[in-house]
């Protein structure tokens, strides 16, 4: 069935195409989260709310996308996605995976190995494990940890859950998702065109290509751009804000491209961080290291690099390392595209060079020239799925006499915006890259920054962290 109406969204749930027409819907609006939608249905109560902010995974569902004749499965937090983001996809919930009469292998493993106690977190774990089951054969411990980092359990202590994931992954059999002919047909039948949804106090645009998006953004410069919504959704779920106008660029394929040229790596602003993580593993290890501890898999499936830059947060994880990598940000607007060096991109607290009416379209990262040592660091209270207390992106080239050239010491979490430790850099310039100098230099850090105390840490500890990271950088770059 082709969907030509531009004010309706269509997705597959429970083996059927569901159309939602918001102009008529009373209780649903475009920014209704998939979690709240599912919980309003009588037969999908397995999707739980534990936090409504992407931190617990109790609401995990799996989205299936039909691409290049294959179905791809992705676990996401239902509390962070707006209904229109389901358009053209299959929504899979725990009820679809299996029932108490007919358990799916991941469910069976969880029962057999005691993966549940109170059970409230369990459906979310099942969904994250289901995604792992579909995408990874015989997962390693690291893959299991990574797949389940976005799920909190307060009862079990996780060991039993890890065992269950291992067991389910080890003897992989076909499940009832192996044959998805019908679903493929349904998904193939849903048209991707520009969608405009409106209801009560809200207009929601979902352009399907970059040109349409740019036009919309210029026509509605005050509209809120949404990519993965992992920042924006919190305004709805936590602050209960009504966002009057939204332009959702989350499904524009052109913005998701990742490629390499001789001189640069080019990452589409809309590429999911999970795909950027995979791409950067060998090519950009310093970026990869940051992405490995960025949120959770559920978050990285949604979150984009453009979104991380767009929020221009002083604790955005990719900012320091992108500065150290000398990335270039491509911004498109009325007058075409312009390129801004990453070091100039952030202009203040949650402020950037990207103005109303403009869109970040690409991040270009020059291939490091020989000898440049680039490292990234993140200190947070909990190692995984936590926001940085202090983060850093460092770069140095050491010349023959072990003197640093091209030194960049970029810190996040130390000021109202990501900043270079200018005085410390100056001090080190021309000095030998040895421990004594580093120790002296680290005393300059207090001259560079005046950090704050907050929920994550006190100011004094932040200062110690910043100093320690410099020392760590030195230990990792010095020749033994």
């Amino acid at each position: 069935m082709k969907n030509k109406n531009s004010h309706i969204i269509s997705f597959v749930l429970d083996g059927e195409v569901v159309d939602i027409d918001f102009s008529g819907a009373q209780s649903l609006r475009p920014t209704t989260t998939v979690l709240n939608y599912l919980r309003s249905l009588p037969n999908h109560k397995g999707c739980k709310e534990g936090c409504a902010e992407g931190d617990c995974g109790a609401c995990t569902v799996v989205l299936a996308k039909y691409e290049q004749k294959k179905i791809r499965y992705q676990a996401v937090d239902a509390c962070l996605i707006f209904l229109p983001m389901l358009h053209g996809k299959q929504l899979i919930t725990v009820e679809n995976v299996g029932s108490s009469h007919k358990l799916h292998p991941v469910q069976e493993a969880m029962v057999d190995l005691d993966g549940s106690q109170c059970g409230f977190c369990t459906p979310g774990f099942i969904m994250a494990m289901f995604e792992l089951y579909k995408n990874t054969s015989i997962p390693t411990n690291d893959q299991i940890d990574d797949a389940l980092t976005g799920n909190l359990c307060r009862c079990t202590g996780y060991r039993s859950i890890i065992d269950a994931a291992q067991r389910a992954g080890a003897k992989k059999a076909r499940d009832h998702f192996s044959q998805q002919k019908e679903i493929k047909k349904m998904l193939g039948g849903i048209h991707t065109n520009n969608i405009q949804l409106s209801n009560k106090n809200q207009v929601y645009h979902k352009p399907c290509d970059k040109q349409s998006a740019l036009k919309l953004i210029q026509r509605h410069p005050k509209a809120t751009i949404v990519a993965g919504a992992t920042d924006i959704a919190l305004r709805v779920t936590k602050n209960h804000e009504n966002i009057p106008e939204i332009i959702d660029i989350g499904d524009i394929e052109e913005l998701k491209k990742i490629s390499s040229s001789k001189s640069h790596y080019k990452i589409g602003a809309g590429a999911s961080l999970e795909s950027v993580k995979a791409f950067s593993k060998v090519r950009l290890p310093a970026l990869h290291k940051m992405l490995a501890v960025f949120g959770s898999k559920q978050i990285r499936h949604l979150a984009t690099l453009g979104g991380n830059l767009g929020s221009a947060s002083p604790i955005g994880d990719t900012t320091p390392v992108l500065i150290a990598l000398k990335a270039i940000i491509v911004i498109e607007g009325k007058n075409g595209a312009r390129k801004v060096p990453m070091s100039k991109f952030i202009t203040g607290y949650r402020k950037s060079q990207c103005k109303a009416g403009e869109l970040i379209t690409e991040i270009q990262i020059p291939r490091a020239r020989n000898g440049a040592l680039i490292r990234s660091y993140k200190i947070s209270k909990r190692k995984d799925l936590d926001i940085a207390t202090v983060s850093a992106g460092f770069r140095v080239c050491l010349d023959k006499s072990n003197i640093p050239t091209d030194l960049m010491l970029v810190y996040g979490g130390m000021a109202e915006m990501t900043k270079r430790a200018v005085k410390t850099e100056e001090f080190l310039s021309g000095k030998v890259w040895n421990r004594k100098m580093i120790e002296q230099a680290s005393n300059m850090i207090s001259a560079d920054f005046n950090p704050i105390s907050d929920a994550r840490s006190g100011a004094r500890a932040r200062e110690v962290m910043a100093k320690n990271l410099l020392m760590k950088f030195w230990t990792e770059t010095t020749k033994a």
Binding site: C47, V111, C118, G119, M465
Partner: protein, 772 residues
């Protein structure tokens, strides 16, 4: 059968398990919303709710004036208001209740309520409370021996203070209640509560209606950990008030941030200590002052403080001791129960003392621990006079030291630390001795109600609640074992005050001990009745020459009933049940149990408060990056005493889960407040419970084998529940050991709990500066 899976596991993994928010409702449901104080301490000068009341979709807005009964919901001491009247005493204190057609309307209505406050000075820390605050209840004291003499004779004395932090229970399912009004004043209350009888009592008092009009039901909770022992009452009382006024079903579900802001946590403690010990490290005397932060109401604080005081010795015999306990009023939500119930706070201090003694004497802390254990008759008297019997400490210590290869690993760690400047490893072994029973003796009672239906199926009702710990599974097993039938025959019902009245909270690790025995009592009654009928039946058809069956000889095995003297006489359980019915004999029985021989005199601080002790030990090795403060738990070995285990799978799950929860308390879980009394860590964004990557890379949990409980408990088992949480002190002290390695164990590290990376890095920094 001791390997039965959780009775709800299949429902958990498929999303079929019904939690309160999953109960199907229709559009007649109203959404309850709580308007709470944004000030820690203020006078309410005036307020106006008219505009909010007039908002379309708002059904009612209630203030303290609309409470038909008592404006109070304190469980023990009546010092906790349902709704604030003229003064607010903490941020998160309820002032108004809104019932509206949707959550959104309720939130919009809240914005229209205008309240004028006059801010007053709050007390927000224990230190400030000690300086200029008030005690919430009179101080407590436990004393034994002659401390003055011990200190005088002592070879060594150490003194210091220890801070332990608050901990949020962080049950996955936030506080919730759904209330259906019936005819007259009837209310059916679905509450996520550990204590349905008290929830019923509080609602009864608040609404001024008798208890027999109120039924409280609990199928399961999505986690509780103590956080729903008393404070589930609040949500239930608020929802009941709204349902009572509107005569419509009302649901209140706290939003995560509100739950974290409004409800109490594990009590913070500040303990001042002074200890004397000899050259070998044997402790001769201990003087303790425990100060805790009660919050703005008493709640369970005194019982928690009492348990902290009675666990200040942990596993160690201290002949001369004085423990003073102070609970201070602060302008924060009333702190409440959390797994361990004061035990962890008490133990953290004595473990710190032992650790320090070891460092001072340059000995392995494992050795100092060992020489101080309770042992034999001479070293068996606790500060409160109970004798430690059936002590398993030495056995566990010996087995665990061996199986964990502690000594070898300590050597390897030493070598590792010599080679690495910034990465350090640490190891620690810590014991737990935990007293089992409510220290308020009369609470140690339980009831049950067992029905057998004509088709041979059994419905077991008991007073305990299921929060994930597997209580219903164990009750199912006990019922099956006692009846000699398969577990498939048995369903354990949702807990209901209409089935079993006047119950105690499912707490103090006593759920199975108490309710299991009550169930057994009911089953025995039924078996006796069935046996009489069956014996009669057997005797009907036997020739005169043969001996008659005696009801005493009737046995229940494998879903059949036999005469043990003549096993050819047999009837299936199902047929027997039908026979009993036809004989007009009741197939329903109540059961009751009270724990024998326990008592405690609060005034004197002496008695025999515990039915038995639970023992366990853990060895944890960690690796610390002293530049980032990140630690990795490399390996944890646990040996824990659960007597004759009822269900090994569940018990191991409880041990692992408890340990990880304890690790959270010891490391990444931190509650901070600003100078206005706002909780800064009010969501999982900033409040970090352990995640899957934080658990030991190698996690080995063993149950102590061959030691059934010497106390007469159900099937000689011991509870698991709380004690394993405290095993995580081994992780906390392993981190300290790694920090200490930075100064080559010559410098006593500055340390507190939780050991966040902030605490770790500042401690390391200080040691490095001292070394320079």
């Amino acid at each position: 059968m001791s390997k039965l899976a959780h009775e709800s596991a299949k429902f958990h993994v498929t999303g079929e398990a019904v939690y309160i928010d999953d109960i199907l409702v229709n559009e007649q449901l109203l959404h309850g919303h709580v308007v709470y104080s944004p000030y820690a301490h203020a006078k309410i000068i005036s307020y106006n709710i008219e505009e909010a009341e007039n908002l379309e979709g708002v059904q009612c807005i209630l203030s303290y004036k609309d409470i038909p009964g008592e404006n109070q919901m304190g469980p023990v001491i009546h010092d906790e208001l349902v709704l604030a009247s003229d003064t607010v005493t903490f941020i998160g204190q309820a002032i108004f209740l809104i019932a509206a057609e949707s959550e959104e309307i309720a939130r919009n209505a809240e914005k229209l309520i205008k309240i004028k406050y006059k801010e007053l000075k709050p007390i927000l820390s224990i230190v400030d409370a000690i300086k200029s605050g008030v005690l919430i209840q009179p101080k407590r004291k436990i004393e034994n021996g002659n401390l003055r003499k011990a200190f005088k004779k002592a070879a060594n004395i150490i003194e210091g203070e220890l801070k332990t932090g608050a901990q949020e229970q962080w049950y996955l399912e936030t506080q919730i209640a759904l209330v259906y009004p019936g005819e007259g004043k009837d209310l059916l209350v679905h509450s996520s509560t550990q204590h349905p009888s008290e929830t019923q009592a509080i609602i009864s008092e608040v609404l001024g209606i008798p208890k027999n009009e109120i039924e409280v039901q609990v199928r399961r909770m999505g986690g509780a950990f103590g956080g729903k022992e008393t404070q589930a009452n609040h949500t239930a009382a608020w929802a009941s008030l709204l349902a009572h006024h509107t005569r419509r079903p009302v649901k209140i579900r706290l939003f995560r941030d509100d739950d974290q802001k409004m409800t109490g946590k594990r009590h913070r403690f500040l303990t001042y200590y002074k200890a004397s010990f000899d050259k070998k490290g044997v402790i001769s005397g201990l003087d303790l002052e425990q100060h805790t932060d009660a919050g703005a109401a008493t709640d369970l604080t005194m019982a928690i403080l009492e348990r902290a005081m009675m666990h200040a010795d942990n596993a160690y015999y201290i002949p001369n001791i004085r423990i003073l306990g102070f609970a201070w009023f602060t302008n924060l939500p009333s702190n409440t129960a959390f797994r361990g119930f004061g035990g962890p706070q008490g133990m953290a201090c004595i473990e710190t003392i032992i650790d320090k003694i070891a460092r001072q004497l340059k000995k392995d802390p494992a050795e100092i621990r060992r020489i101080n254990f309770y042992r034999g008759e001479e070293r068996s008297e606790t500060p409160y006079g109970q004798i430690v019997e059936h002590n398993r400490l030495d056995i566990i210590d010996e087995q665990l030291m061996q199986s964990s290869k502690y000594i070898d690993r300590r050597d390897k760690i030493k070598q590792f630390n010599e080679k690495n400047e910034f990465i350090k490893r640490g190891i620690a072994i810590t014991p737990v001795k935990f007293g089992i029973s409510f220290t308020t003796s009369f609470l140690n009672q339980a009831g049950a109600l067992v029905h057998v239906y004509k088709d041979g199926t059994i419905l077991a009702n008991h007073g305990g609640t299921e929060m994930g710990q597997g209580l219903h599974t164990k009750i199912q097993q006990i019922t099956a074992l006692e009846f000699g039938v398969s577990t498939e025959r048995i369903k354990v019902n949702a807990t209901s005050t209409a089935k079993v009245p006047n119950t105690s909270a499912t707490a103090a690790s006593a759920g199975t001990d108490l309710n299991g025995m009550a169930i057994k009592d009911a089953v025995l009654k039924l078996k006796n009745r069935i046996a009489i009928v069956v014996a009669e039946e057997f005797n009907k058809n036997i020739p005169k020459s043969k001996l008659e069956s005696d009801e005493e000889d009737i046995i229940f095995v494998n879903d059949n009933i036999y005469d043990s003297e003549n096993t050819t006489r047999k009837i299936s359980f199902k047929d027997a049940v039908n026979l009993v019915y036809l004989n007009q004999v009741s197939l329903s029985a109540t059961g009751f149990y009270k724990t024998p021989d326990i008592h405690f005199d609060r005034e004197k601080g002496k008695g025999h408060p515990y039915f038995y002790y639970s023992f366990g030990m853990a060895v944890t090795e960690i690796e610390l990056d002293t530049l980032t403060g990140f630690f990795k738990n490399l390996r944890t070995d646990i040996l824990h005493d659960v007597g004759e285990p009822l269900n090994k799978r569940l018990d191991i799950g409880q041990i692992e889960g408890g340990y990880i929860q304890g690790q959270g308390w010891c490391t990444t879980e931190e509650c901070k407040w600003d100078d206005k009394g706002n909780l800064l860590n009010h969501s999982p964004d900033t409040y970090k419970i352990p995640n899957i990557q934080d658990i030991p890379k190698d996690f080995r949990v063993q149950l102590l084998e061959g030691f059934p409980n010497s106390a007469n408990t159900i099937r000689r088992s011991k509870t698991v529940a709380e004690p394993p949480l405290m095993l995580a002190l081994s992780c906390w002290l392993a981190i300290k050991d790694a920090i200490s390695a930075v100064g080559n164990h010559e410098i006593e590290p500055e340390y507190s709990l939780p050991a966040t990376n902030e605490v770790i890095l500042l401690s390391v920094d200080k040691i490095r500066k001292q070394l320079d």
